[in-house]
């Protein structure tokens, strides 16, 4: 493992379980003997604000913040948040994004005044992102989470998809075990199913864009 570095810029909307997701990855790193640091955002406990976690894996990284243009991947739990931090993506980096859009209240306020206004859509985000990378994969994480048994498992669906990426330096089975260890006891089964569904879905599209594990 030593020497391999990988930075993931993780973004979403308050309430989607982004910090839990980064803790699950971090705990997996601790178990696998991989060095990882994160720069997290806590403090405003409100739901519905834009949030992010900088996740950096590698023996030599010191800064908990990813440099501009330094993220190997963006993992977005909400579609608009995939674009909000696009400056962090390195050219040709991977974007793994949820298709779900949570419309910001500022946009809705505009809609009330302008009858022609259209919301920014997941497709808008995807087409903009394609200007800087050819590796954009969109996932219906909410649908898969519901299929797994709980809409709250969107974050784990996304993790399952990320786990397939070969360059991501944490073994998939260790990630899966970390999910089981770190979600609430009664939600383990649902979350493991969510992880597997995300992984399966990634094989259909993400893995046609980037090299995946067997």
């Amino acid at each position: 493992m030593a020497g391999r570095e990988f930075s993931v810029y993780m973004s979403g909307v308050g309430g989607q379980g982004l910090v839990l997701l980064s803790n699950i990855i971090g705990a997996a790193c601790a178990r696998a003997g991989v060095r990882a640091i994160t720069g997290e955002q806590h403090g405003l406990s409100q739901r519905s604000g834009s949030i992010n976690v900088h996740m950096r894996i590698g023996e030599r990284v010191r800064s908990p913040l990813i440099p501009i243009g330094g993220a190997d991947a963006i993992l977005a739990l909400e579609a608009l948040e995939a674009l909000r931090y696009v400056e962090y993506l390195r050219p040709g980096g991977i974007v793994l994004m949820n298709s779900r859009v949570q419309h910001p209240v500022s946009e809705t306020a505009g809609h009330m005044k302008d009858k022609q206004a259209k919301y920014f859509s997941a497709e808008d985000v995807r087409s903009r992102l394609l200007q800087v990378t050819d590796k954009v994969s969109v996932l219906d994480a909410l649908g898969l989470a519901r299929e797994a048994g709980s809409p709250m498992a969107e974050n784990i669906v996304m993790l399952g998809a990320l786990s397939t990426v070969e360059a991501f330096p944490v073994p998939g089975d260790v990630l899966r075990a970390s999910v089981a260890e770190n979600v609430p006891k009664k939600a383990v089964e649902v979350n493991l199913k969510a992880f597997d569904l995300g992984k399966g879905k990634a094989r259909e599209h993400l893995c046609t864009l980037v090299k995946c594990r067997e």
């Binding site: 010191r62 949570q102 919301y119």
Partner: protein, 630 residues
Amino acid sequence: MVSVGASDVVREGPARAFMLCNEAIVRGAIEADVKVVSAYPGSPTTEILDTFSAVAPSFDYRMEISANEKVALETCAGASMAGLRSITSMKSVGLNVASDAFYSLSYTGVKGGLVIVVADDPQAHSSQSEQDGRYFAPTAYVPMLEPSDPTEAMRMVKAAFDISERHGVPVLLRTTTRVNHQSGVVEVGTISRKPFAKLPWDHPPGRFVTVAEAARNFKFAMLERARRLEEEFEGSDLNVLHDTGSDTGVVTSGAGYNYAVDACRELGIGPSVLKLGTTYPLPRGLIAEFLKGLKTVVVVEELSPYLELHVTAIAKDANPSVRVVGKLSGHFSEALEYSPNIVVDAIAKAMGITPPVDYAAVMAKAKELKQGLGERWPTFCPGCPHRASLHALRQALKGVKHVVATDIGCYSMSFLDPVNYGDTLLCMGASLGVAAGLQYAVDRKVVAIIGDSTFYHAGLPGLVNAVHHGDDFTLLILDNEVTAMTGQQPNPGSAVNAGERPAKPLVLENVVRGLGVEDLTIADPYDVKGAASKLKEALSRKGPNVVIMRRACALHSDRLKRRRGERIESNEVSKEACRRPYTCVRDFHCPAISIDDGDRRTVISQELCDRCDVCAKLCPFGSIRRREGG
């Protein structure tokens, strides 16, 4: 919110765990056998309090979630004067509140180790200012340690207790947001704690009394103590020198160190690095030695040029020809937090190197790509009673000229887009004092808004003052039962305190009446019409009067519901009934409500709705109702 690391805090070591720095600080204090913990929540330190609270049942330390930071520090002071080890944590501005006790405590000193974690917030992520708390240390002659990451924070907490006890002085552990909110893989040690035991008070009378002659004597002792501390820090392994033989050097500490190391790697340069862990007293001899033979020294620190001014002064004798690169040279700003690219750019410019990435070009491209992307500011959660309270206040003040003095809490966000409400905001409790001044100065109705936790923290003297002077304003106390913004911690109105142990809940209306307020109204913000009319009446009367808007924080009550196994219901909009008056959007701005791109009717997100039902009560056409099975 306690993350998964909390279980690692109690785990027997040695072991490896992924921990938030704030959790590592708690682990360090537990390994150092801390016996008394007392704090008021404040970002970015809140998870220290939360973690201590979460793991309290596993240990025998005594803990209070205090009414404010001053009481918290004084509680630690009492315990440490007696001889127990104690710790408190607070945000930058929290130390302003506690500073009265802080300065005197340095005079009297302590017996048991006392550690004060104080976290500055460059970028003012969740604070009202970018205050640089490092200046507390030299002005109070209190030693200060600065970690860069969780591993170091854990080690420094233990060192801080040791220094505190050996020198009889409280020790500051100074962090910044990007240190507190950094997680990493930490090797935890063994936990070996002595059973809690009360101590005799064996100090001579007056030992901890500082005034006049006693204060003058303490001052001389304090100066001598600072001298001894500096001597000790000259050889301390908390300061790390990495000598590469280069004629360029970097002096740094805390978060700056992380960026500096990565920046040098990015730029392919290998300067010598002096990482300072003891930033007061500064090891001036060590710095002087480091400067000798250097052509250029880059000082990497956020906020004020604290290290830089010292480095410049030391260079005057040690190496007058060295070029100091920092804020005073114009390479770095005193505003906002640093980032890897800011440090790369500054060092590259100073060294005449071209940075590997043209960050400005990347940012320009990103800006172009983000055209039309709506801002997503923090806002009131679905179901938040503050949204309903502010809506009712707007209704009640329709046609009335007014000015609103607001305070620190979730309701502070009301000034952000698209709510845009509130005229003044200074610091905890200031709404009352500012309102007192406004009622002398303005030709209109004066309204003050404060939350229950902030009221107990710093609002009480303001209300005493207003009652005594008959100040003419109306105070709204938004009582949501918890300290909501920092994660719904208990406050003096709660029936529990740290570790969910039972505590006596103060009855807010009794407190208000007890302070002499005769005109008191209580309203439920979810009762849309009732709340607005009660407010209207109260606002029409001469102040001082108080309206308590009472309804539990939605996140808090949802958590309790889930714990009881209850479902969170949701509402939906009837397409047939909706005639698009947008009453549920205008001045309301709930994240669960959006407008359909096609038929322009409103839509309620099942995932986000909390079914507070306030929007349903606002709708003139009754088009919002409970979702069946939702």
